[in-house]
Amino acid sequence: MRFRAKIVDLACLNHFSRIINTIAKLAKTCILRLTVCKLYFILSDKVANGGASLWCELSQGNFFDEFQMEGVAAEHNEIYLELVPENLSRALKTSQSAKAVKIKLTNKHCPCLRVAVELPSLSSSSRIVTHDIPVGVIPRRMWNDFREPSVPDFDVSIYLPVLKTMKSVVERMKNLSNFIVIEANLSGEMNLKIETDLVSVTTHFKDLGNPPWASEDGCQSSAQSRDLESMAEACIDIKKLQQLLAGQQVNPTKALCNIVHKRIVHFILLHEEVSLQYFIPAIA
């Protein structure tokens, strides 16, 4: 089982760092799945995470100049690693002016992802900084725990408002309440509501637009025959929503959410080279 990769382009490095920063805000530990073409950051919906789950997918070709991996076996040419994304984020943080960043899976005393950053210096040889990030190798029989979640049978799908606005609204609401209700309908209207003993606050968004989902046979019929004005809602942990919005350092190309009434909210954030899906279950 081998993995080595190299980033030389600074723009790619910055972009990759930003993605890692976003993941670090959402998960304390997560799974990194490596395949020949893609990297995935996965958080499965264990109780420890508050039931939230994450699926983030990027094409390695968009970031790495070199990327070689050999999985556990020829028929299972993948690697699953458990790691703390904050470590990776810190390792990349001070590499903004690097000449090259190499990442390699090693096993000196324990499995580690070694991030080696080559920095320019005034001397004849470059400065080298290495960060050994401990990782856990997930055995093949556990891989089924980390399959891509399917899009739930949602009641409403709607585009999100400008994330910056949404973020500042949610951040203020966070000071007042631990839970927030997201409700939306198929007429492009979304409300964010909090309610406590003393105060209730609602922020209304209009004209957001509803994404067209290709209707598979009978699959989305619940959405199609739905009354356009009727709201689907879910009450979720406000901290999770705030973390998701705070982690977005760049505006996504597309941002939408699917609401299953009183069950779960499924957020999809799409950038050019990376897609992120985040599931927040509703509080009973």
Partner: protein, 364 residues
């Protein structure tokens, strides 16, 4: 100085005004000596054979509070007068500002014994000198909260800095960061091969930012692990020393071999073993079942086995239960080696227990 201790010791001497501080565990000491030429006017006061040099200490916070906002001070203050009034027990700081405004601060002081760490840069086996900028750029790669760092020498004359992982921390769970600097990044390098020392990074950062701001090269004098490390800055009118205790080898011997600077290879070498195949084979072969085997990195709540501490020498300090001063290394491991009593100069450098060097004055 405030990064080291809570009290500022002042000692006006013939060779200049000395400002000093020590940390609560006596493992860090710093002194700034401003030569008479630094000042527009310098009168240390009559210190003849009969009169003792006057020494006192004030609260660091009170002193710093007077100089709170440097940018506005630079704009408004023309002159600063520092006056010791022993009879009134007051240290007077007078800021002469624009428009005829004078701000006078009277600080209460306490007389004290001399605060002097015992150290000798000549007796250090290794010396390094680098522009502050190089060291600042090196230190930036470590987490701001990192307590201790290990400075080492490696093959090819390279100098390494690595974050120190405590014995209590699980080595397979902690990220290890290591930085390599080439010899020619330094202004001078005279080091014993294979040497390494571990010291408190937080206290060093304070001196480093001062050095960077004043654009002065920083010299590091060190010896064997356990002997103090001395950082010096030199200028025509200013002499700065920072002395920090270092971790003795008694503790570092129990670490994993990878922390030995000498055997560590530069990062981009391909010599390290990629021995994951055998690891994977071992994992696949282990007892199946739906139970996840304890992840080597994130064990499922297995209690950390109680480590038996290596035998401590009789000179080990008692552990103080006072609230830890931020940046002070843990008492057990670091030794306040260098606070020999000033009263008995013949004594060797090793202090036994909490030798309080600077006593509070007895009741008047």
């Amino acid at each position: 100085l405030s990064r080291i201790g809570d009290e500022l010791y002042l000692e006006p001497t013939e060779s200049g005004l000395s400002l000093r501080a020590v940390n609560s565990s006596r493992s860090g000491f710093s002194s700034f000596l401003f030569a008479p030429l630094f000042f527009q006017l310098y009168e240390p006061g009559s210190a003849g054979p009969e009169t003792e040099v006057f020494r006192c200490k004030v609260h660091m916070k009170s002193f710093l509070g007077i100089f709170r906002s440097l940018p506005s001070l630079e704009k408004t203050v023309g002159k600063c007068l520092i006056l010791l009034k022993p009879r009134a027990s007051r240290l007077v700081l007078q800021l002469h500002c624009k428009y005829g405004v004078t701000k006078t601060h009277n600080l209460a002081f306490q007389e004290c014994e001399q605060l002097q760490a015992v150290f000798d840069t000549q007796r250090c086996a290794s010396h390094l000198c680098a522009p502050a900028r190089v060291l600042a750029e090196a230190v930036v790669h470590f987490a701001p909260t990192l307590a201790e760092v290990t400075l080492g020498t490696g093959p090819g004359g390279k100098i390494s800095l690595r974050n120190y992982v405590e014995d209590e921390a699980e080595p397979s769970k902690t990220m290890v960061t290591e930085l390599w600097l080439a010899e020619d990044e330094f202004q001078s390098v005279a080091v014993a091969p294979g040497s390494h020392i571990t010291f408190c990074l937080k206290e060093f950062r304070g001196l480093l930012s001062f050095a960077e701001a004043s654009n002065l090269p920083l010299t590091i004098h060190f010896d064997a692990p356990g002997r103090p490390v001395i950082f010096t800055l030199d200028d025509t009118v200013l002499e700065v020393h920072l002395v920090l205790a270092t971790l003795s080898d008694l503790q570092s011997n129990s670490q994993s071999p990878s922390t030995n600077g000498a055997s560590h290879l530069p990062a981009l070498s391909d010599d390290f073993a990629d021995d994951l195949e055998s690891y994977m084979v071992a994992m696949e072969a282990s007892e199946g079942g739906s139970e996840r085997p304890p992840s080597p990195t994130f064990p499922l709540r297995t209690p950390w086995p109680a480590e038996s501490k290596p035998e401590e020498e009789e000179e080990e300090e008692e552990e103080e239960e006072e609230g830890a001063v931020p940046g002070t290394p843990p008492h057990k491991k670091f030794r306040s080696l260098f606070f020999g009593s000033v009263m008995t100069p013949g004594r060797p450098g090793l202090a036994t227990t909490q030798e309080v060097l600077a006593e509070d004055s007895e009741g008047e």
